[in-house]
Each structure stands twice: as structure tokens, then as C-alpha cells.
């Protein structure tokens, strides 16, 4: 990858100090069955990562079956026609590999990291579950993973302080018919109701090669990979063509407030607004806004709430980017003796300031420089979540262009301060937001109270 720097020197930079060249060279092609394939060579370590995105997430779930896309992700590890139950990971680990998967509202991804000689093992395992899963899935397997997922839910939500927020949040943010209006993990009742027939239907509809993208990054040769991918995936028939899921960004017609009591010592405030989808106009501005508000000691909210006033233990802000539309979220935990109303008042003041006056050049540059360095750090790992194979698939899914790295970074580098405040004004409205207070049991007086404008 060292040659990249040389290329960067040859290309005339757009800006006087445009920094390091950020790109991941790749080869892309499609099999006849519609499977998109992306290959990137990186010979730094003798490892390869196989990464596959199925373009289905919880947003495609049917009413009464929330949590199914994620339950299905678990079932994908339980064996297929030529991979007996339990052998997926045993064979993989025996070859020196490791695997995982994850599910969001929009997509489900799976990856295997393994020594480069074992690439074909991962291709065999992935192609077998794409092509031959249903021949062996049994109701007992569904039950087994149902129990595991219920424990994942207990571990990540029920038994975790403040965890109940994320169960309630989607229902408050989105109207009941919106595909983002239920949590990815689903409800206990729906998880119990999922049947073997649901597995069959879901697989047939969403797990065809034409609804997936396979990305391979690491110590490999492009032509050899092309041959092996054809060999293992070529025989799998296409699934049905799927209509695009595209629901416009919802509009909240009012401010919605909710108070939850939890077994916690300190109250925590959650504020959320609807914002543009991943890579849509305005999305990067919200990332920058989040950084200016809560990233580092000099960020507006950290400096006031945590550093100067010391009425908060922590504050976070982030743009939770999703395909159709996103959410901008601010979270702050009050110190003992302070109420969430106090925190909310300061947060509102700081938002108001950013709406009326653009951030300084220094503030913007500080945020952009941090994003740029983050891009560099992403170039280090071929595998796992957020590694290069995963990023190539991510760019392909959200933008249609696996080579979006440089364009993605450009979104931040070309931004001017006025655009940041314009976005704050457009999206962070007082009368269209969700505010959740989580307070210690029996202490509703600590919640963020409605304020008259």
C-alpha cells in the first residue's frame, strides 16, 4: 500500500493540504445469479477476510415477528445441507478462522477471518448456507437459537442499566407502520411466536445471491479469488427481485416526552431528532455537529456540562445513520443532586448558539481532522466488523459504489461552518423531537420537565 502515497503525489490535490490518499483499490464483478463480488488485496499479514452482506434487516420484518431478521442471523450458523449442525465454526476454527455476524434495521452481515490458505473453507461454508440452508433447518434448531437470542436480549437490554430505553425508543420516534418503529432485537412475545415456516419464507425471499454482496480482502490473488467464488457460488439460483424499501423521513408533529424508572443510581437524558439517511445530503453535517457538541474536552456540551459546571458525568452525541433516514441523539448522565431539566436547559442553550452562530473555523477543522485520521485507521484491518472488507460492502450497500472512501471523506473536508449551523437549524427543532428521561426508581422529580418555549 506504500505506492498509494506516490499516486497521491502525482494527482493534483483539490486543497492545498489535502492530506493522505485514502483509497482501497478493488475489483468488482457480478455472477450470473446476481451476486455482487468485491475483492481487495492486502498482503500485510497472511490472513484473509470473507465478508457478506445480505440486504435485509429488521425493517423487512412482518408485524408480530419483530426480531426475526436477527434470530435468522443466529440460525445461519447452525448448519446447512453439507455442514452438519455445529460444524460451521468447528471446521472454521480448525482451519485457524473466526466468525461473527450482526443485524441492523437495514442489513445483516457475516464475516470469517482466516489464514489465506483457508479461503476456500470460508467460501464453502458461506455458499452452503446461502444455497442449501433449508434442507436441514429443524424446529429444534430454531428453538435453540430462540433461547440464545432471548438471553442476548436479557444481557444487552433487560439486565443492563438504562437498557429499557432502546426497547421504547423506536416506537416513540417512528409511526407504528414505519419499518424502523420496532427494535432490531424484537419483543420476547414475537421471538416466542417465530415458527419454522417463517424461517423458510424469510430465507427464500431475502437470502438469494441477488440480494447479497460478497467482499473479500486480504492476502489473496484477485484472479484466484474470482475463480473460487465462481466455483462455490455460481450454482446457487437467484431469489425473487425485491422492491426497494423506501419510506420518507418521518416528521414528528410535536415534542414527545417519556419518563422511565430503572434500577440506576443516576438519571440520564436522551434527546433525539429525525435526520437524513446515510450518505444523503445533511448526513455528514450531523456527524460534524455531533463532534462539535460532544467529542473531546473542548466540545461545546462536554466543556460546559462536564468540565465547567460539573453537573453531568458524561455527554455523548451521535448521528445514528440508517439507510432511509437517521436519528441524531444526545445522551447525558446527571451527577448526583442534579436534575435532567438542568442538563436539558444547557443542551438547549448550546444548540441555540450553534443555530444562530456558525462554529468557528478551528472547531470545524478540529472535527474534520479527527474524521480524516479515523479514515486512515480504518485502512489498517482487512477483517472483522468495520475492517476493509466490511467497509467495501458498506459503501456498496449504501451508495452503490464500493470505492466511496475518498468521496466519503470529501463530504467532511469540503464542509463550511455555515452548513453546520444550517443543519442544526433545519433538524434540531424543539417541537419535533423525542426526550426520554431515565430516573432512579421513585424519583420522577429528576426527569426533564416540559418547558414553555
Amino acid at each position: 500500500m506504500k505506492p498509494l502515497l506516490t499516486i497521491a503525489m502525482l494527482v493534483v490535490p483539490l486543497l492545498p493540504d489535502s492530506g493522505d490518499d485514502i483509497s482501497v483499490p478493488y475489483t468488482q464483478f457480478k455472477l450470473d445469479n446476481g451476486l455482487n463480488v468485491i475483492i481487495h488485496e492486502d498482503h500485510t499479514t497472511p490472513l484473509v477476510s470473507v465478508n457478506i452482506w445480505y440486504h435485509v434487516g429488521s425493517a423487512r420484518e412482518e408485524p408480530g415477528r419483530t426480531g426475526f431478521a436477527h434470530l435468522f442471523e443466529h440460525i445461519m450458523f447452525e448448519g446447512s445441507a453439507h455442514v452438519p449442525e455445529g460444524m460451521f465454526d468447528i471446521w472454521l476454527e480448525g482451519a485457524g478462522g473466526v466468525s461473527n455476524g450482526s443485524t441492523t434495521e437495514d442489513r445483516t452481515n457475516y464475516w470469517e477471518n482466516l489464514p489465506s490458505n483457508a479461503l476456500e473453507m470460508a467460501l464453502f461454508l458461506e455458499s452452503d448456507r446461502m444455497g442449501f440452508l433449508l434442507e436441514v433447518v429443524s424446529p429444534e434448531q430454531v428453538d435453540g437459537q430462540r433461547d440464545v437470542v432471548k438471553n442476548e436480549r436479557r444481557q444487552s437490554y433487560e439486565n443492563r442499566p438504562y437498557g429499557s430505553v432502546w426497547e421504547k425508543f423506536p416506537g416513540l420516534m417512528y409511526p407504528p407502520d414505519h419499518p424502523y418503529s420496532w427494535p432490531v432485537i424484537g419483543s420476547m412475545a414475537d421471538l416466542s411466536a417465530a415458527s419454522h415456516a417463517d424461517v423458510t419464507n424469510f430465507f427464500k425471499r431475502y437470502y438469494g445471491p441477488n440480494n447479497a454482496s460478497l467482499s473479500i480482502a486480504g492476502d489473496v490473488d484477485v484472479e484466484e479469488v474470482r475463480r473460487l467464488v465462481n466455483k462455490w457460488f455460481g450454482e446457487i439460483p437467484s431469489g425473487p427481485k425485491l422492491p426497494e424499501l423506501n419510506v420518507p423521513m418521518p416528521i414528528l408533529s410535536e415534542e414527545k416526552r417519556l419518563v422511565l424508572e430503572d434500577k440506576v443510581q443516576l438519571p440520564r437524558l436522551y434527546m433525539a431528532w429525525h435526520t437524513p439517511g446515510y450518505f444523503k445530503a445533511g448526513d455528514a453535517e450531523m456527524d460534524i455537529l455531533a463532534s462539535i457538541l460532544a467529542d473531546g474536552k473542548n466540545s461545546r456540551l462536554y466543556k460546559r456540562l462536564v468540565f465547567d459546571m460539573q453537573i453531568a458525568q458524561d455527554v455523548n452525541a451521535f448521528q445514528a445513520s440508517q439507510k432511509m433516514s437517521s436519528a441524531f441523539i444526545i445522551i447525558a448522565t446527571a451527577r448526583g443532586g442534579h436534575t435532567l431539566s438542568e442538563l436539558e436547559a444547557v443542551i438547549q442553550e448550546e444548540i441555540d448558539k450553534l443555530v444562530s452562530d456558525a462554529p468557528t473555523d478551528r472547531e470545524l477543522a478540529r472535527a474534520v481532522n479527527q474524521f480524516e485520521a479515523q479514515f486512515l485507521r480504518r485502512l489498517e484491518r482487512p477483517g472483522s466488523f468495520g475492517g476493509k472488507a466490511d467497509l467495501l460492502n458498506s459503501y456498496y450497500f449504501y451508495t452503490g459504489d464500493p470505492g466511496y472512501f475518498a468521496k466519503d471523506l470529501e463530504r467532511y473536508k469540503r464542509m463550511i461552518p455555515a452548513e453546520v449551523s444550517a443543519s442544526a437549524k433545519q433538524y434540531l427543532k424543539r417541537d419535533a423531537r423525542v426526550i426520554i428521561s431515565v430516573v432512579p426508581e421513585g424519583k420522577p422529580e429528576l426527569a426533564a420537565k416540559e418547558v414553555s418555549p
Partner: protein
Amino acid sequence: MKTRTLPSIMALLAPFAAALSQVPDRSQPPAIGPPPEMKAPSVERLWLKNGLQIILVEKHDVPLVQINLQVMAGSVLDTKGNFGLASMTADLLDEGAGGRDALELADAIDYLGANLSTRAGYHTSVISLNTPLRQLDAALPLLADVALKPAFATADLDRKRDERLTAMIQARDEARSIASVQFNKAIFGKGHPYGRSASGNAAGLKALTAKKIGKFYNKYYRPNNAALIVVGDITADEIMPQLERYFGSWKKKRVKTPKWTDVSQVRGRTIYLVDKPGAAQSEIRIGRVGVPRNTVDYYNLAVLNTILGGAFTSRLNQNLREEHGYSYGARSSFNMRPHAGPFTASAAVQTDVTDKALTEFMKELNGILEEVPAEELSKSQNYVALGYPANFQTVARVASQLQNLVLYNLPDETFSRYAEGIYEVTSRDLMEAAAKYIDTGNMAIIVVGDRQAVEEGIQALNLGTIVYLTIEEVMGPVPTLGASK
């Protein structure tokens, strides 16, 4: 593990199909060639004139540089009544230094896109810098300021102390934190450095003053008691003059390290049941005193633990997650330190199966004493040895490997010898190691869960004496903020 008979017709047809139409043979997993050899990073050891050791690994794939200053100044050096001293000292290093206050310093670092962090563990304090190569010239003097010219202002101490005390209040919400506090106490005892959290306790933090912190810093933060790790898109020729320039003025001084108190092994089996009313899951920790990093059983235990609870297909995870669905995941570890750290088996399990889960834990802990089948041994050896290069993919991970070389005084060949060491392990080695270290009759068992729901079931198991505890008894009274009067 349950096995399933392959549909026989498929197995018969597959080879024909493969021959006729380029369809792959799926009747068995593909044969894979010999694994590639890892090129172990070549380690350069250099010294500044003042005795500061520089350990450098070149890594040119991405224009980033990681520089970690590791000082032998961890919480084991905390003095009685000042638990939290090492950790607060490390915490305050980047809260103002070299004439910049905390905000100015953070602004300077953030503006470069660099990350700078400081933290203390049991034996070391580490200042880590990760920066784009093109900002190194600007970032390096900031790192040197943080390391050599910290301000230790009382206002910053007061602010960080309240943050820490508040975090201690919050830890009471987390069953995981409660379990880990009680586990360390049960294994090592409150009086031992490993029996406490490296971040100290409330009384210790409240007793800290800027003066005590300055004294601790002057005593232990010395070039002869530290090593500077450099990894990234840079060579020794390029960076050494810079390091001499910024770290050359650091003054040597003799550092005396207090004598280590050895721990006594856990005797008998005690169950500590910490009541967390209404908990949806029980947090389980089972273990005893394990081994130091320099143990002769290092490779044996790496493989043994992988089989028991160090991988997805390990026995604990297969049993508690895949076979029984009691948990989202179960695992085990030998936490190796300069002195014997803990061996721990752990999981969060559904409340109503807490007793059954404990039975399965004991079954697997006893089962690992039996001879391990050859296939399972070789699977685990491959998993550990062939996955090893992943430790060298980022500058940050390489740096952390190098920190271990220094901390444990390991030879440079450690990396290139690793796979060999793993493959030399035999099933007989495993049996001997298991017999030595997995002594199920002498273990502490921690359960943090809903006592009312789990008590009866646990009693019926007759695993040992049950000690009932409240969160207050484990975590102490809720601390007030501020310094002690």
C-alpha cells in the same frame, strides 16, 4: 455436540455432479493447503543517552504512527490509604502539561487528528499516542509534555476525582462490575493489590492530594523505569534524533520497587451470592489463583483455555449457549500478569436456570481434567496459532504486543516462536496442566443475581458454603464526592 447424518443421496451424487458441470464437491469440506508463514515483525531495541529504552517496529502499510510510553508504575505501588494513587497520577498527566491547561492540551491534540490517552493498570502506566504520520512532528512534543511536564493542578485533581467517585457510584448498577469486584476480593483478599481494582477505592481517592501525586510521579516516572514503544510508518534513523530531542532531558534516578506479597491459593469451595433483586440474569464467575506470564505452562494453558472457554466452539460456550441456551455466551481465561493472576470461568445466565448453569460449569471444569481428543487438540492449536497474525494488523496492537515484551522481559523471538510453541503442546501436557491449575475442589464461585429466585436451587447443589452478600457489602457505602477533610 450433536451430529447429524448427511442426506445420503446428496453425498452419493455430489462427486458426479462435480465432474459433469463444474459444480463443486460439497460432500466434505475443501482440502486446504499448508498455512502461510507469518513474517514476525523485526524488533529493534535502541537506547537514548539517559537510559530510556526504545523498542521500534517498522510498519509501512498505512501512514500512521503509534508511540506508547510504558512506565513501571501501576496500582501495585499504591500506598496504604492511597488506593488509586497510580491510576489518578496517570489520569492527570494529560489534564494540563508543558504550560498548556487541560483544554488547550486537548485542543492541540484533537486538532492534529491524533489520539492521546493515559491509563494505569496493576503494574504499568501507559501514555499512548496514535497519530497520522504527517502530524508526528507536531504530536511528539505534546506527548513529551504530557510525559515529562504534567501540571498536576489541584482543580484538575478535584474534577477527575469527582468523576471517578461518580463512576464508582454507577458501578453499583452493573451486575458485571459487582461480580468482578467480589471475585477479586474472594480470590486475592482485600489486602492484596490484585484483590482491589487498579483504579483504587473511594477512601483512597478522597485522600489524594496534588502533592502526593507529584511525589509518586517523581519517584517512578524515570527513563530507567520506562520504555518507549514506536510502531508505524517510520524508521529508527528518522525518529531517534526526535526522541533524543524531546525525551533526552528526562533525568534518571534510582527506582526502588517494594517487595511483592505472594498470595495464598483459594482453599475449599465457597459460593458468594450477591443479591440483585429482580435481575433478569445471574452473573457467574468461578475461579482461583492462576499463573504468572512467565509460567512454563504458557503454551499449554493457551491451548487448554481455548478448549475450555477461549473460542466460540469451546466447551463452555458449546454447552451453556449452543446445547442448553442458558446464556448468550460463556468463556474462561487465564489472566497472566508478572505475578499469578486469576483463572476465571464466566457467563451471564438466565435467572431461572442459575443452578443448572452452575452444574454445567462444574461439569466442564471437571471434564477438562480428562484426556482431550486429538481432533479437539489440533483444532484448538490451529485456532490459536493461525489466528495469531491478527495481533499484528494495526499499529496499536503491535505496540501492545511490544509492551508485553518489556513488561515480561521476553526475548524478541517470542513472536516468531509462538506458533511452534503452540504446536508442541500434547494432550498429555494438557492433562498435567489441567490437574495443576483447574482444581475444582478449591474455587470461589460468585453469583450476582436475584437471591429469592436462585437461592433454593443453589443450596440444593451442595457445592460448598454459601455466603450471602448485599451490593452494599461488596461495593461499600455510596461514596460522597469531594476530597476527605
